[in-house]
């Protein structure tokens, strides 16, 4: 290393980065430091992972249940979906959405609005934005609602164990989640207005939308490909989990007089979740790691911004690659530690 004239050190992190990033959640331009560039990349990675995880879970659970359906058509449709998306490389899917499918979208000036406010164009997806006054009070009210729900759940469980009386936790929780934010609107001075994207002419033939939030096509195609791909694995996890609960359990539950809903809620789901959750978390982890493929379509995630642009500029290959790897590593190790703890907690306690 020495004879190649390479020095080692992390001092470059505080230097001025002098490059710009297309899309970032926090303010960033050339005058910010490389460390801030790292944060921008990390936040973008987290953003696309969270979006991907939410959609993958929704699609995966729906498809997994469809896969268990006794309706031949639904079952086969789900099977075709799973086999198809699972057997095509993720990178190919990302390229497909980005270079082929989203490129077929209309130009901003030709776009028909969806539901009046949403504009899906070749330059990205423009959605209305909320402009908040006193956003922090609103967020506090939601947090307060969640915390009180947790306490109510604990209280309800205790009550059921001691006195055998069930509390309608679900309706109380939903009520709390609606009422507390509503109160913040009425008394906390929270105010929200909607800003709709408006078409604006930049030049003779160049149009764009102004106002609202712009989701770049990179983000859309990446999130789409990640969630469609990971959903197939989650669907299989869900299917395996529900099938893993033996028939005798359901029959036994039915025979002691539980209603079908209760059977599902009290007998099948707890056991199925025990099988479903560990592999599903693994899939979430895979999704997060796979989001690094963003570099291929220039979505500014951690790998592209930090291990790409910053590395090119500083030439600090060892430091940057090791920081990037450490970030992913600590992410996955912390999740796997959590999973081990969780596994131990829910494992069947055998004598």
């Amino acid at each position: 290393m020495e004879n190649r004239g390479i020095t080692f050190g992390y001092g470059f992190l505080s230097q001025e980065s002098s490059f710009d990033v297309q899309f970032s959640l926090i303010e960033f331009d050339g005058s910010h430091s490389y460390f801030r560039a790292y944060l921008v990349g990390l936040l973008n990675t987290i953003l696309v992972s969270v979006i991907g995880i939410i959609f993958a879970t929704i699609i995966g659970v729906v498809v997994g249940i469809a896969r268990l359906s006794n309706n031949y058509l639904i079952n086969k449709t789900a099977a075709v979906y799973v086999e198809f998306f699972r057997n095509i490389p993720l990178l190919l899917q990302i390229f497909f959405w980005y270079f082929a499918a989203l490129r077929a979208l209309p130009l901003p000036q030709d776009t028909e609005p969806m539901f009046g406010f949403f504009f899906l164009t070749i330059k990205g997806f423009f959605v209305p934005a909320f402009i908040w006054n006193n956003l922090d009070i609103f967020i506090y009210s939601i947090i307060a609602a969640i915390i009180s729900i947790i306490f109510i759940r604990i209280y309800a469980r205790k009550k059921q164990e001691n006195e055998g009386i069930q509390t309608p936790v679900l309706s109380i929780s939903i009520g709390l989640l609606i009422i507390l934010p509503l109160l913040s609107f009425l008394f906390g001075g929270v105010d929200a207005s909607v800003e709709v994207p408006v078409l604006k002419q930049l030049s003779q033939s160049g149009f764009t939308y102004e106002g609202g939030i712009k989701l770049p096509p990179e983000l859309i195609s990446l999130a789409l490909a990640l969630s469609l791909y990971t959903a197939t694995f989650i669907a299989e996890c869900v299917r395996a989990g529900v099938q893993g609960v033996s028939k005798g359990q359901k029959e036994a539950a039915a025979s002691i007089g539980l209603t079908p809903n209760q059977v599902l809620k009290l007998v099948v789901m707890p056991q199925a979740l025990r099988i479903i959750i560990p592999p599903t978390t693994n899939q979430y982890l895979n999704l997060t790691k796979n989001s690094s493929l963003a570099a291929a379509i220039a979505y500014p995630d951690l790998v592209l911004v930090f291990a790409g642009t910053a590395l090119m500029q500083t030439g600090r290959a060892i430091e940057i690659v090791s920081i990037t790897m450490l970030t992913y590593l600590s992410l996955s190790i912390s999740i796997s530690i959590f999973m081990n703890w969780y596994n131990k907690k829910i494992a069947i306690k055998e004598k």
Binding site: L91, L293, A307, I333
Partner: protein, 480 residues
């Protein structure tokens, strides 16, 4: 005549219900069919929303009418049981049928009816459908990358030969069956390596290869006359001595002349690409990652703390990072740790990186199998006086590996699907070639065709692999 109750179809008026229902369903399907294939709307006189939903409503009522349990008609019963158990199911079934009918015409027209395949330039693609001409023209590039056209027979020949050698297991007689594992684990990879290294890449190294072949052939021929007691030593010592003698003492000049005649043109790995590179990379990674993963999984269960924690560290590290950063590391960071004059080929680095990466996953899968075996198996093997290796090779691993065939197959599938990532280091396998072809100024705007083509190829490969693993699983399934 019995009273008809349309809310509750029953068996008494089976025919009435059946005919009304079938006619309604057929009508609804016919409406959608006309609409989607011939763009004719028979019910356009109705108000907008109603004409849109009418087929759905008609079909729904129809399916409701034919939902008669134990009707005695076999076909009707199976329809009811499979797609029409209740209202919700009927609704979903209808939706799926309509969606298929609706989406068929555009798909058909894009893929076949309006597509072009004739001709050899972009100008022939005038239709609204796919331009398969693009695939046709670029086919060689997609398959072989930048490999020179005149030399592509070498790739074909090697792959055909390797495929043939790979099927030897099916033809082996009983006598040779026991050597098959050895063949597939050791001999076959070595042969494959020689093929790819000397045949596909070619070049001056081929000279050395000719010495090696001669040494091997001579030593095998003499080997038949050696008593089996000494055979092992013989096959280790003699070929190497022969090789050295041949190269440096006997036929130095003559063989170089011989080699020159047969020398193949050197094709550097940067020029390899396309689907053949996908195969090469996945093949070698498959071969290497399995034994490494096996040893890591054994190491993780070892009693020696050093081996144990080393294995855990290796596994958790590779599993924790994305493959793309591993490839980054292999391309930008790794060369810095090498001595100045040392150079490792890009392809080799990639293969090492992917193998180590996938080995960690294989290790975890195999560990699952090892943990699933009851302790009694270990104890029984030990009580027979078996040592560590004997116990694992003869008792534990055959059972454990059998259990984890699906898991290993999944890892291998993931490996094949990960190969496109090698674009990071500048190697262009099929997806990389597609991206290159897409930016060619003469062929702009055909990204869709390329990706569909590659998707179909990958789907066939991966689907075949998963079906094969399923067969293996069934074949080796033992009742426990």
């Amino acid at each position: 005549m019995n009273k008809l109750n349309f809310l509750q179809p029953d068996k008494n008026n089976l025919n009435t219900y059946l005919y009304t229902g079938v006619i309604l369903v057929a009508l609804s399907i016919f409406l959608v069919f006309l609409n989607s294939f011939f763009e004719k709307d028979l019910i356009s006189f109705l108000p907008g929303t109603l004409s849109f939903f009418l087929p759905l409503i008609l079909g729904f009522i129809g399916l409701h009418l034919i939902r008669i349990e134990y009707s005695g008609l076999k076909f009707l019963d199976s329809v009811n049981k499979n797609i029409n158990t209740n209202n919700f199911n009927a609704f979903l079934s209808l939706l799926i049928v309509f969606a298929v009918i609706k989406s068929l015409p555009p798909i058909l027209s894009w893929f076949i009816l309006d597509a072009n395949i004739a001709g050899d330039s972009k100008d022939v693609c005038t239709g609204t459908g796919a331009c398969w001409t693009y695939i046709k023209i670029w086919f060689n590039r997609f398959m072989y990358g930048m490999y020179p056209n005149a030399e592509q027979w070498r790739i074909n020949l090697s792959f055909i030969a390797l495929a043939f050698l790979g099927t030897i297991g099916f033809f082996a007689t009983e006598k040779f069956k026991k050597y098959l594992t050895l063949y597939y684990v050791v001999v076959y990879p070595v042969i494959a390596f020689f093929f790819i290294f000397f045949f596909i890449s070619g070049g001056p190294i081929f000279f050395d290869f000719s010495y090696g072949i001669i040494a091997a052939v001579i030593s095998i021929i003499i080997g038949f006359f050696i008593p089996s007691k000494f055979k092992m030593y013989y096959f280790i010592i003699v070929p190497i001595t022969l090789y050295i003698l041949l190269k440096y003492v006997f036929f130095y000049e003559e063989l170089i002349e011989l080699g020159k005649l047969e020398a193949l043109e050197w094709v550097e790995t940067g020029a390899w690409g396309g689907l053949s590179l996908t195969f090469i990379v996945s093949f070698f990674c498959l071969i290497f990652c399995f034994p490494i993963g096996l040893f890591l999984s054994l190491g993780r269960r070892s009693d020696f703390p050093i081996i144990k924690y080393f294995s855990i560290g290796m596994i958790e590290f590779w599993r924790g990072v994305p493959l793309i950063t591993v490839l980054f590391m292999s391309s930008v960071m790794f060369p810095m740790f090498l001595p100045e004059d040392m150079f490792i080929d890009k392809l080799v680095r990639v293969i090492i990186a992917i193998s180590l990466f996938e080995a960690a996953y294989v290790a975890e899968v195999i560990r699952g199998g090892l943990q699933a075996l009851p302790r009694g198996q270990y104890d029984a093997a030990k009580s027979l006086g078996m040592g560590y290796w004997k116990m694992h090779i003869l008792v534990i691993l055959p059972q454990a590996l059998k259990l984890v065939i699906p898991g290993i197959a999944n890892t291998f599938l993931a490996l094949v699907k990960d190969t496109p990532l090698i674009f990071v280091v500048g190697l262009l396998e099929i997806v990389g070639m597609l991206n290159l072809a897409k930016t060619n100024p003469e062929w702009l705007g055909f990204a869709m065709e390329g990706y569909v083509f590659a998707s179909v190829l990958f789907f066939i490969i991966c689907y075949a692999m998963s079906k094969y693993s399923y067969n293996l699983e069934q074949k080796y399934k033992t009742e426990r």
